[in-house]
Amino acid sequence: MKQHPLCTDTEQCLGVMDLAVPPELKREWAALQTRRHFLGRTGKVLGWAAMASLFGDRALRGDAHAPANGQPGTQAGEQLKLPHFAPKAKRAIYLFMSGGPSQVDLLDYKPNLAALYDKDIPDSVRGAQQLTGMTAGQARFPVAPSHWAFKRYGETGTWISDLLPYTARMVDDLAIIKSTNTEAINHEPAIMLMNTGNMNAGKPCLGSWLAYGLGSMNDNLPTFMVLQSKLNTKENNQPVSSRLWSSGFLSSEYAGVGLRAAGDPVLYLTDPNGVDREVRRNMLNAVNEINRQTFEELGDPETHARIAQYEMAYRMQISVPELADLSKEPQSTWDLYGPEAKEPGTFAYNCLMARRMAERGVRFTQVYKRGWDMHDNVTGILPIICQETDRGCYALVADLKQRGLLDDTLVVWAGEFGRTVYSQGGLTKDNYGRDHHPRCFTTWMTGGGVRTGVTYGETDDYSYNVVKDPVTVRDFNATILHCLGIDHNKLTYKFQGLDQKLTGPVPASVVPGLLA
């Protein structure tokens, strides 16, 4: 019997492995039945649930895609036959506006609302919709027209709010989707739905699906990176948790890797004093060897993920400082992104980092900006957050464009839902609040594969219901995958007896009107 690498005693005893049973059975046994696993699992869950998971784990997962048959570092896409067709975009940047930006004040222009100030929104428009607890008790639902004027921009003559002067400059490059709609009305389920295609936690997010399906273009940086923007305490910041960039049931290799907003972008990036690169390498070799032995014995595919992550961390010690070193950026960069881009953690800085990652072959970068949740004081807070984000968005798109990267980079701007046209709380001439609104919200896309200069979908006169070309979250995600050369129905992973996919079991369709 082989000595366990973590044991020091050499006591011999006859185990299952020594019996004359077929090797496949031994492997199965090894995967399921070790004391460590048994105790570990039964300790966490009770009764039959524990037994089900104990015996059912491998069976439920299915071996088809288990990383056990693919060594770390190989191209996932090669095993899965991806991309399914020649993609227009090789990589994507997703600017996630957490909290729910107000479409009424930014991109969905409704000139008729001014005349309806403080008039109740007709019941026929609201229908039987269930509202959130925050406004369900309101006696009135008075229309709050946008406080800001809109103007037409670009050759397309698209109406854009005065709050977004920079976005206004690039309207001809955008595909603005006014008919995005979701099923969730509260932040956590809505944000999970946008990011993972399911309101419940535990499913892999878009970035993980891409990492799993398309693999890496740069072995020295993670395939999927996450950048969180600094909080502004004036804003109402809803939590953004690591569940949103979790790999769910996919191997944890495909989870998003976050860079910190302040200090070293990655903790312990530099080796401690006295430990040079060679010592680190030797140590890693030894740990990897131990991990490999453990894998042979236990067959847990997560061991491979762990080995791959250690190796990635080692390479990131070199690649991340280079990535985060902005000293060589020319003055034109700062002219474009604005001075706040020099301060790590700002949205502008993250946009710049996203461009640098795109240049270096990071497959998917997701930038989170929190604070769009404005239940009151819209006129006080919305200008602040627009000022924080507007220029960064424009700078990123313009920068990708001038550097020739926009041809094969998809850029997506979206929140998890929209905001109500009626005021939450008191409505005055100068201020109002807006509650969550799932029935329509405005998003945009640009770059590789996207038809530019279009406004897709229409909402009614109250920016309340979609009246034309609705785009569900499923369709939205299917379209993103399409731009990257993926048929959303074919990128699947067997789990819990189902061929799981990002767009879920309800039929989704790519939106042809958004494609170039």
């Binding site: 191209q75 896409g77 090669e78 036959k81 991806l82 991309p83 399914h84 067709f85 020649a86 993609p87 800001w148 004027a149 103007k151 921009y153 670009g154 050759e155 397309t156 003559g157 005065d162 709050l163 002067p165 920079y166 206004a168 400059r169 001809d172 273009m217 740069n218 072995d219 020295n220 020319p330 003055q331 034109s332 002219d335 474009l336 240049e359 270096r360 072959g361 200008p383 700078a395 313009a398 001038q402 550097r403 020739g404 041809d407 038809r451 530019t452 200069g453 279009v454 050369g485 170039a516």
Partner: protein
């Protein structure tokens, strides 16, 4: 008419003395004559007539398939009759049936054209085709007995062959009337199209760079001209040229310059889809909203044949992609490719799961050490490489010699490299190259100027180079509009 005379002549020569046969021939000649006279007696005058005529007439596209099927069957029966005589016996019956159904289809077709007031060269051609076909079938019926008896062995096969040719031509005319002229050729491979149509390809696109030529005419072409064109002229309206469109139809002009609300064309296309007068008629798909918007704006702004742009209308035109040279299947070389990758560190990533989409040369992991020598080692894979990502590598101007042999290259990234543009024009033979990124290099305006001669090269990036200094990129410091309060 000459055909008829020929037939009479041969009848004179071969006419057996028996009376019934003479009667048959007389009846046939009378019938053919009346068929030929029909269009002169009842003229297609371009005006709709009784509804019952249209009602019956609309069964023509259905019934017309009966004679087609039967007629195609006849030669098959005759040929297979060599092996099974019973089949040859059946041919007589099938032929007779075909003739009767031919007359039926012809009648319905005539009712359709007359009843709905269709005119146009396509309609006329189709009508004469149908008449000629009926007569030829009749001839087949008459010639067949001689053939069976062995009196005259060549006349019947010749007539039969002629009948099939007339059938083919007539059916094609009918198909073009129903589906539009370019229905068959729309998705024909370009190479085949060139071979078939030769010079005609140019004729389809009015050369001028006007809004009408680029956007309005194509909408009309795709949706209207099948019924309002040279082939078929419904309601006296033709829309296949600017002049004819502005002339209008039997109800007067369809476009009133500057007044979309008074233009019949816009009225008809914006009716509810189930309205009787909705266009395009007969269940064809309605115009797309943006197409209606373009039409409206075009009429609003004067319906000019020469204006190149319209206010408020911005159409993203996807430049016609040059046909891509297919890439060979590299799957046989996988072991060599993997060997190359492990030796070099640079990777050859498949564009997609289809090998014919080619490979991407990806050097990002070894950029610093990837130079001209390493690039040259990939030359053997050059027929499969469609994209070379050489950004920030150590390649120099010397790489252009190697790259000029990457005949299938569509995108070339050289950003941040030491190339200066000298020898850049060695890339000129790369006819597939559409994307060239030279950002952050030392290329000068003079060095890149000759790139203009590369027709397919549409995306050239020169950001942060002496040719396009970064500082001059854009006056981005101030937004266009100030935030209003």
């Amino acid at each position: 008419m000459r055909l008829l005379e020929d037939v009479s002549a041969s009848v004179e020569r071969l006419l057996p003395a028996s009376r019934p046969i003479r009667a048959q021939w007389t009846a046939s000649v009378v019938m053919s004559g009346s068929l030929l006279l029909l269009p002169f007696l009842v003229r297609l005058d371009g005006r709709p007539h009784a509804d019952w005529q249209q009602f019956l007439g609309r069964f023509h596209p259905l019934i017309v398939h009966v004679p087609i099927g039967l007629l195609v069957l006849v030669p098959l029966l005759e040929i297979s009759g060599v092996f099974r005589p019973a089949l040859r016996e059946a041919a007589e019956f099938v032929l007779a049936l075909a003739f009767i159904s031919c007359l039926g289809a012809l009648t319905l077709g005539f009712l359709l054209a007359y009843g709905s007031g269709d005119t146009g060269t396509g309609v006329t051609h189709h009508m004469w085709g149908g008449i000629a076909l009926s007569i030829t079938v009749l001839l087949c019926l008459l010639a067949r007995p001689w053939w069976l008896l062995g009196n005259e062995t060549r006349l019947y096969p010749a007539t039969l062959a002629a009948m099939l040719l007339v059938l083919l031509w007539t059916a094609h005319q009918g198909g073009s009337l129903t589906h539009g002229n370019n229905y068959l050729t729309e998705y024909m491979p370009v190479s085949l199209k060139r071979w078939v149509a030769l010079g005609n390809l140019q004729a389809n696109t009015p050369g001028a760079d006007t809004f009408y030529a680029r956007h309005i005419n194509p909408i009309l072409d795709a949706n209207c001209v099948a019924c309002h064109g040279e082939g078929k002229v419904k309601g006296g309206l033709r829309m296949d040229s600017y002049e004819l469109l502005m002339k209008g139809g039997k109800d007067g002009p369809v476009i009133v310059s500057g007044h979309p609300e008074r233009s019949l064309l816009l009225e008809r296309v914006t009716l509810p889809a189930d309205h009787k007068q909705f266009m395009p008629a007969e269940g064809r798909p309605p115009l797309k909203p943006e197409e209606i918007a373009w039409l409206k704006a075009w009429v609003q702004q004067g319906a000019s044949p020469t204006a190149t742009t319209l206010k408020g209308i911005f159409i993203q035109e996807n430049a016609k992609e040059a046909p891509l040279k297919p890439v060979g299947d590299y799957s046989g070389m996988m072991s060599e490719i993997l060997q190359m990758e492990s030796g070099q560190g640079a990777k050859l990533l498949p564009v997609s799961s289809k090998p014919s989409d080619g490979l991407i040369l990806n050097t990002v992991d070894v950029a610093a050490s990837f130079g001209d020598v390493q690039l040259a080692q990939f030359q053997k894979f050059s027929p499969y490489i469609v994209e070379a990502e050489l950004g920030r590598t150590a390649v120099t101007n010397a790489s252009f010699d190697t790259l000029s042999k990457f005949s299938h290259l569509r995108a070339l990234h050289l950003e941040g490299t030491a190339v200066t543009g000298e020898g850049l024009m060695k890339l000129a033979p790369l006819s597939q190259l559409t994307y060239l990124n030279l950002s952050g290099t030392k290329v000068t305006a003079a060095a890149v100027a000759p790139l203009d001669s590369m027709k397919s090269l549409r995306h050239v990036y020169l950001y942060n180079t002496p040719a396009q200094p970064a500082t001059a990129a854009d006056s981005i410091t101030q937004p266009i509009a100030k935030t209003a309060q």
